[in-house]
């Protein structure tokens, strides 16, 4: 990582930044690690050292496992749909048609909204009594009686995923659109006169330019999705029957609702570890693609 040109002077110049990083990231991290090995509670005792107890308990607990799989379901589905939808929309918006510029601008809107606003908006749409979704589905005859979309374990997660996709596919589309515009016109033309059909052109001409930026989008979105908190908190609070309780929500409940700071800290560190593993894995993939797309 460090090049041989890293002189003492360079290190010295970086020192202030390093100190700040240690203060705002390093120290809290160390303190969280310490906390995670105690039975500290939010109010009262600062806790006794109990070693790795929190970790073994956490990992084997049913709450953790159900939250882990809920988070996985949420992340995998929303990120995959966002990627596919984003690329399709980008391909569409890259065509020449009347009103394209307006549509491109409009597309950004959902992404520009704060998550809180988006979550509130979708909660209204899903509202069992006066929500737009119920009204729409009954009016076109696809639904006989109003449903509580967020109140039923069978539909709550899907409803959350839809809300997340709606907000976040524009980011992917934006990144993909920028990448598409970098595809040289001549290469497209060459592929057309070489006789490549639309799929082959996508595969051999567009993909090489798309894959790098898409990887970046994938990393960003996966990490974000894995940390999801506010969207779920506003729409379902992890319910019904904990079916949408993500890891972040579990951490919050553990540390603040149940006031078990020690075990909450251990849970937070486990999430950090998972995300670090994801990030490193993606970085490795990206490096490979960067080498190939050249």
């Amino acid at each position: 990582m460090f090049s041989e040109r890293m002189s003492p002077r360079a290190l010295l110049l970086m020192l202030p930044l390093v100190l700040v990083m240690i203060a705002v990231i390093g120290w809290p991290l160390v303190d969280t690690i310490r906390l995670s090995m105690t039975d500290a509670r939010l109010a009262g005792t600062s806790g006794e050292f109990i070693g790795a107890d929190n970790y073994t308990k956490t990992v084997s607990s049913r709450n953790f496992q159900s939250a882990f799989w809920a988070t996985m379901r949420f992340s995998v589905w929303s990120v995959s749909i966002e990627l596919v939808l984003g690329v399709l929309v980008a391909l569409l918006l890259n065509q020449r048609f009347y009103g394209r510029t307006l549509l491109r601008a409009l597309m950004i809107l959902p992404w520009a909204l704060p998550t809180v606003v988006n979550a509130t908006l979708w909660r209204l749409i899903y509202n069992p009594e006066y929500g737009a979704l119920n009204a729409l589905l009954t009016q076109i005859g696809m639904l006989d009686a109003y449903r509580s979309w967020l109140g039923e374990p069978s539909s709550a997660m899907t409803a959350l995923i839809v809300a997340d996709v709606w907000k976040n596919f524009p980011l992917v589309a934006l990144i993909a659109l920028a990448a598409l515009q970098a595809v040289p016109k001549d290469i497209r033309a060459a592929a057309i006169s070489d006789g490549a059909n639309a799929w082959k052109r996508f595969r051999y001409v567009i993909m090489p330019y798309l894959i790098g930026p898409l990887m970046v989008a994938l990393v960003l979105r996966t990490i974000e999705a894995f940390k999801v908190f506010d969207l779920i908190w506003i729409m379902t609070r992890g319910g019904p029957a904990n079916s949408t309780r993500s890891l972040s929500i579990l951490v919050y409940q553990e540390a603040f609702a149940f006031q078990r700071v020690g075990s909450g800290a251990s849970l937070a560190l486990i999430i950090t570890l998972i995300i670090t593993v994801l990030a490193v894995a993606y970085l490795m993939i990206m490096r490979r693609f960067a080498g190939e797309a050249r």
């Binding site: 040289p184 001549d186 290469i187 033309a189 060459a190 592929a191 057309i192 006169s193 070489d194 006789g195 490549a196 059909n197 082959k200 051999y204 001409v205 993909m207 090489p208 330019y209 190939e292 797309a293 050249r294």
Partner: protein, 355 residues
Amino acid sequence: MSTLELREIRKSYGTLETLKGINLNLESGEFLVLLGASGCGKSTLLSMISGLSDPTSGDITLNERRLNGVHPKDRDIAMVFQSYALYPNLSVARNIGFGLEMRGIDRSTREKAVLEAAKVLQVDHLLDRKPGDLSGGQRQRVAIGRALVRKPKLFLFDEPLSNLDAKLRLEMRSELKRLHQMLGVTVVYVTHDQIEAMTLASRIAVMRGGCIEQLGTPEEIYNRPASRFVAEFMGSPPINILATQQTERGLEIASGAAVLKDLRPTDPVVVGIRPEALKTQAFDGAITLSGTVDLVELTGPEQIVSVALNDTRVTATLPADLPLALGQDIDLFVEPNRILTFDANSGDRVECLPH
């Protein structure tokens, strides 16, 4: 046998007419160069021949087959781009064979054809590399190979050498000439480099503002330009254009620096004299221009000399070994038939026969 025929090709983008009626007949085996300034519609014309865009009106036929509306891949035409346009993540071999692969040609036939084309272009040792690992010249060879392997009836080149450095451009130019002579293919080649045009072309079409200003052999274009525009476009250093005045002595050039007794144009004209037509040795029947040496630039094989004549200047290319001092008087001699006359208003070349 006529290979490519363009009849009244027009192209408009919105209200703007980019091509204003192009007519062209190309014989099999010809090397036609489209030459013109930036924005005159060369690439537009090429993309319509290749089928990447459609003309607003007019007909394109290749070997008696009408091409309007035919998909680019079915036209038997291959194009080479200025930017090479190679597929970045495919190997050189697959790049060259891509057109065959897309047409469903079987693997062994394809590999044989790719190797053959690669050998002709001397890139057979690079077949496993990616385009990113090649030099500019090698990439251009691969791009040409990709066109070659399809054995098209017509090759289109859009400024294929302009991304290369000067030395490589020279090398590839000779290479293209050699290839053309060896394979006898028919080529339409776009450039705005007049040397490229002169050296490669069997015929040159000089384009200007969406029209063909003149179509002819390099020799015709250079020595008998149809207009002042063509004359000024060709040649480096550029042709000298001098104003004239009709007097009782004849046609005076450059405020009387020389007089052309025999010329009696009916309309106002300007004259054009190529720098290399000006000599320092007197000969029978020569027209004399007297002036003073103003600037001397030695290029190596010759010197480019600027000579002040009254209120104007002419440029002459003279032998490098001629001793010249700044400010010295000099007489330049030119054969009368190497003086071109152009209508002062329209720019068309006019023959000024003596009355």
